[in-house]
Symmetry: C2
Subunit: 314 residues, 2 copies
């Protein structure tokens, strides 16, 4: 069942806050982007978000709800931001109540990976999936789950952190006392550092800033053996993390998004190989593994849709 | 909501088939155990199961449904046993239809780990949990999930295989092309072999058959350093597998059952230590990690309850 209501979706990133008016999965108008790093506290950022909301409502007075996706631990039930990754000054902010009070509209807030997954599930690559694992590859590795045809949040609403799940219990230390978390291998910075080291081992000096996923994709497409080996390794590591989630969740679809995923077959081929190699056919024969379809707009569309549905349910 | 109907639960094991009449989580009468290994085909085993059912119905004519838990991949929706672990001759057997036709009662079939988890959730250690991971430690390592207050089965009804989820992507090879699966470290046979090796490394020759979980528990309680180190290692490995599931599922309870779990604090202490060490407090502060409460009867109670509820829903 899909809502026909119009809502504003706001994708709160560590560098930029993007927004748009959304109806039935389509963007009707974009808001002016906000520079996150130009603000040192929550209050001034919220004021600027409210300014963008006012402008968008001027263009689309039919807007019936506001949805915000945020990078961090979010209490979506009580509407409180516990803390944000890489954005200071956001400790226990009751953002939903603030937005509702200042706009007079119903609002929801959600973790950004969950918002993206919801967008891809309702209008993107995971439509018709009932058991979907979404993973987004970037500076960090985010994840979210659609289970039994619903967004799955877990006991503290914090589920889906496949980036912290480990592929090697004696592996690279992570920020939570964990070891071998996928993010410690395939985050953008980690990929760059490992590629630079592989180039050094091969007798080449390639500066770190020339080892972005995009650089490595171009190099691999030109036959560079180090870049090819790097993608094979990164894909296999992501595949191993997904294998664990597959044995536990038996999904029917996996959606892979984020900057790193743009490498396409360079990444998907080793992921598929590892999954076919390391799971029973019952678990992979009918499993679709697909790139995200909504690109940078998945988060906006997802949280706008969550907001529109919540408003409809009221 | 709990059913008040009476049902027969049948726990199909690789060596013994146990059965009982169950009402509201309590055993009213036990059936005669059946020696699984005395039968070489499905037909003669089914005949003997039907004989036990007839006897139990003679004692309790109010029996309203039959539930069977089986060790292997089970299609619980269509009532078909795909294949059983360690029991030959059970390929694509339409067991539910056979039982329903021969008894005139509604029947359900389910994977044994899922049946155990259901029993523990409805009447045992996981009551009041809404997001529960159940793990059973024995010859193999079984698992099952209660998510959002429902038994979670996944796309092919095969979810919960935490025993095949890997703790080390370059680790011990498993039966499905997988590497580092938990079962390859903490299955009964693997524990015995590793303990015997640790004894050898320490200059002692202890035969394999004296390295059962029970032997190792007694030795550890007597201060044997090899046995103590073995339990610490086994607990840490189980803890690492659970850490992965915790990051992904954010559960509110974990139930640990099966023979190995009887080691109590020897096992639970390192499991808890690893979970506290390797997850964010949000994920472990309100997480209960408890031993199974229904012992060997969890499976019988679970599948009887599933059967009674299904009959009530009809």
């Amino acid at each position: 069942m899909k809502t026909t209501r119009t809502a504003i979706g706001i994708d709160f990133g560590g560098t930029t806050i993007k927004s748009a008016v959304v109806k039935e999965g389509r963007i009707l108008a974009h808001g002016e982007p906000i520079d996150t790093e130009a603000h040192t506290n929550a209050k001034s950022l919220i004021d600027e978000i409210l300014h963008v909301i006012t402008t968008l409502r001027g263009l689309h007075p039919e807007v019936a709800a506001i949805g915000v996706g945020l990078p961090g631990f979010v209490d979506s039930v009580n509407g409180i931001v516990h803390e944000l990754t890489n954005v200071a000054g956001w400790d226990e902010v009751p953002l939903r109540a603030i937005l509702a009070e200042r706009t007079g509209l119903p609002a929801i807030i959600e973790n950004d990976a969950k918002a993206m997954a919801y967008g891809e599930w309702k209008y993107g690559a995971a439509q018709n999936g009932r058991y979907v694992i979404c993973i987004t590859l970037g500076t960090g590795v985010g994840g979210a789950l659609i289970l039994d045809g619903r967004l799955y949040r877990g006991a503290q609403l914090a589920a889906g952190e496949i980036g912290h799940a480990s592929i090697d219990y004696r592996g690279v230390p992570g920020p939570y006392g964990d070891r071998g978390g996928l993010e410690e291998y395939v985050g953008n910075q980690q990929i760059a550092e490992r590629a630079a080291q592989m180039y050094r081992d091969a007798g080449h000096e390639v500066p770190l800033e020339k080892c972005t996923p995009l650089d490595l994709e171009h190099a691999a497409r030109n036959g560079d053996p180090v870049a090819l080996a790097m993608w094979d390794r990164v894909g296999a590591e992501i595949g191993c993390a997904l294998v664990n989630a597959i044995w536990i969740l038996n999904p029917d679809a996996i959606v892979i998004g984020g900057g790193v995923a743009k490498a396409g077959d360079l990444l998907f081929e080793p992921i598929l190989r590892i999954i076919r190699l390391r799971t029973d056919p019952l678990f992979h024969e009918n499993l679709r593994i697909v790139p995200a379809a909504l690109g940078n707009e998945a988060g906006i569309i997802g949280c706008a849709t969550l907001a529109a549905e919540a408003a409809e349910g009221q």
